[in-house]
Symmetry: C2
Subunit: 456 residues, 2 copies
């Protein structure tokens, strides 16, 4: 398998899909760019990336001339709760919202139906926003898995483990068992990585966190967890651990292994960052959701510069409230400039790197996805460069970060298959998905109205 094929070859090599005439951002180690580039796909893999001349060397079943648009790796959403789309725009900005509002709402409404309906809607939103891979933490993840399988995306799906009764488990042990069953079912899926998702340190016991850590090594699966996110968490953990920070507590109990993908990491100091790096954990940076909740800004620039595995996440649609990583880029770039008092801080190329290779590294999937390189899985997107907000484009990273929005994503290819073309979904019925979601909102409205909460 090689991208270097002599142009004097008598017959062209075979390929399944060739994208030509694109402004190719490879996001490889050297950040190689081909302003008039070609990407060649065979099966589910990239077999060549290069300039214009490459296109003539392949005989492809399908060729897409993208007319100067950007071709880049699919974006990676390292943290969300996709099914919560059905609750989006409810009770925004309510103080102590998670405990006072979201947990009670979920106790009443989380079900297989709700999880499926919400995930279907969120998946479409993510594909339309350039996301090809996401990491999810929720309940009934086997239902989410079915929606991911159907739409053709890639995902790391973490089944929740939490100490209080939830819709699919009475306690943490039942959650672990649910997760184990899910893991066994999806262990060999080509696009789905099943995982444990202990909600957070403060919503689980030390014993549960230790048990999950051990199992993650036995099963060789990720552990998705909220970590160093809130003042309440910090306080509870300090009381439990004789003053340790959440990160140091996780280390002290042996639960900070390299399977961990920690969402948020806002309340971390330099020692915590060093500990996270030594433990080789992944980090999901959720700027837009974190500032919406006034939780603060994670030191993501420092973590990135120190070589941590850090990607971008949207958090759930009650938090962010969108699931499109491309709409996150602008805020990530700008808010870090603000808090660092430096207009040169967090330049666009770092932001795009976090949204692609950074996300792949955070999920420990950097050998498979995150860049356009020979041998990698063919997960890529095409970005419209003709929309007025994208004209002109002296610098493609600036255009992506400071100008682009989700509507500029034109095409999406995952695992070598085209799943969106010219913004039309090819694998699912978008209208039907919206209709199901809207029907479900009537149930949500009834429940909220009965609860007496003034949040509608």
């Amino acid at each position: 398998m090689s991208g270097i094929i002599s142009t004097s070859c008598w017959s062209a090599a075979n390929a399944d899909l060739v994208l030509t005439n694109g402004y190719v951002l490879t996001m490889n180690q050297d950040k190689t760019v081909y302003p008039h580039g070609t990407v060649v796909i065979k099966g589910n893999k990239i077999i060549a990336v290069g300039d214009k001349s490459l296109a003539t060397q392949y005989q492809a079943k399908q060729t897409m001339d993208v007319d100067g648009d950007i071709i880049m790796p699919g974006l990676i959403n390292t943290h969300t709760h996709v099914s919560m789309t059905v609750f989006r725009s409810l009770a925004d900005d309510v103080p102590d919202r998670l405990h006072r509002y979201i947990f009670p709402l979920e106790a009443k409404l989380v079900s297989r139906d709700m999880v499926r309906i919400g995930a279907n809607l969120g998946n479409v939103e993510m594909v339309k926003g350039g996301v090809t891979t996401y990491a999810d933490m929720y309940y009934f993840e086997d239902e989410v898995a079915k929606t991911v399988d159907k739409i053709g995306m890639r995902a790391v799906l973490g089944e929740s483990v939490i100490k209080f009764p939830v819709a699919d488990a009475k306690n943490a042990d039942e959650g672990i068992n649910y997760a184990l069953k899910f893991i066994n079912e999806y262990r060999n899926h080509p696009r789905i990585t099943p995982a444990f998702a202990p909600h957070a340190p403060y919503t689980n016991t030390t014993e549960t966190l230790q048990k999950v850590a051990k199992l993650s090594e036995q099963e060789n699966v990720p552990v998705l967890i909220h970590l160093a996110e809130t003042d309440r968490e910090q306080q509870v953990i300090a009381e439990r651990s004789n003053g340790l920070s959440p990160v140091q507590y996780m280390k002290s109990i042996g639960a900070l292994n390299s399977h961990v993908v920690a969402a948020h990491m806002i309340l971390v100091d330099d020692k915590d960052i060093e500990t996270a790096k030594q433990a080789d954990i992944g980090v999901a940076h959720n700027m837009s959701a974190n500032i919406k909740a006034a939780k603060g800004v994670a030191p993501a620039l420092k973590m990135y510069d120190q070589g941590l595995r850090i990607g971008l996440g949207t958090d759930g649609p009650m938090s962010g409230n969108t699931l499109s990583i491309i709409d996150e880029l602008n805020q990530v770039a700008k808010v870090h400039k603000l808090v660092n008092h430096d207009r040169a801080a967090m330049p666009p190329i770092k932001v795009v790197d976090m949204a692609t290779m950074g996300g792949a590294r955070a999920l420990h999937m950097e050998d498979k996805i995150g860049s356009l390189e020979i041998g990698k899985l063919a997960d890529l997107i095409v970005i419209d460069t003709k929309a007025p907000n994208m004209v002109p484009m002296y610098n493609p990273y600036s255009a992506l970060v400071y100008s682009a929005n989700s509507a500029n994503v034109k095409d999406s290819i995952v695992d070598g298959k085209l799943i969106m073309k010219d913004r039309v979904m090819l694998t699912v019925d978008e209208d039907q998905i919206r209709k199901e979601a809207l029907d479900y909102t009537e149930i949500v409205k009834d429940t909220v109205i009965k609860s007496g909460e003034k949040v509608l």
Copy 2:
């Protein structure tokens, strides 16, 4: 002229355009919402706003059933430099960018052609981003005026006055004369308000600022100015005025009259805010551009709560980098929560109010635009509520602020005329405009390459 017409009328009243079946956000004083609402337009004015039943009372030349989509006042961009679109994505994040980079670039390139080409592109971007009225500060504003006239938008166009030689004037006095000529030419245009635009206090002499203030009263036109924006400005003005802040200096020289629309107002204290309120000036809050340049966050929430005339602006496309107010809402809501350490701060309804009535008040046009009320000019937009990011919509203000992006703007009506329908521009040729802009970028690239600056 009345919206209350008895349903027992034998014949329906005449109208030109009726929008029905919309989720109408009036943004009037009471923030009246009609979830199944109607807006009736005759000529260039709104003649009725109400619920479903209203539609049956009018015989309209054209009726648009918007199928549940949001109908709201057109967004107002209170501060930009529209023609600079041709420079977008050049030299982002360069320290001391304005003086080291932008002014020299402009000295080489600003021309009638550049102003026209850039304005055409920016106008399209703004319409596609929901903006119906904008305030511009630049050179050759008579060229901008022609583009505004053609596309059918509404604008306040400020001709620059600055102490050093620029493309259309050798000095401030020539700038004033250029502005006076422009003001005379456009004084009676139905959609264009000509104005003075002294660049900033520190780039003009005290005498010039006083002269402009006097002329603004004589001519009864706005004065657009950058104010309390940068550390350099603060320092220069303090040296000039024995330690005064930019706002206090402007007051002290008699240049802070009610014609002023001050962009930025970042470096203001409580006394400055009180002074600005007493002077009844308008304020343009440019969140996204200000944080990109790490300039800080203007105390916009305090100014809003204290009743100042404050609207939202994007700043120019080298600053923001987009011109779409709808893409500004998210950051305005979230960054104010962050800096106020309060998730309940800057709720969506205040943000939408700033983007509509706030903008109208900032431009002293609140009797004409900014809300959907009987007798106001018919400037309104329709927002898609079926895009996946907009589903569901328990709270329309939350959906607009936290979820919407410019691509969700479907239709735009200005002065009673449909100028965009289903995202297709009706009054200008978008492809031709893009082509002209792309051709012009070759001139920009040549100039930049010759300058030896490494910014491409």
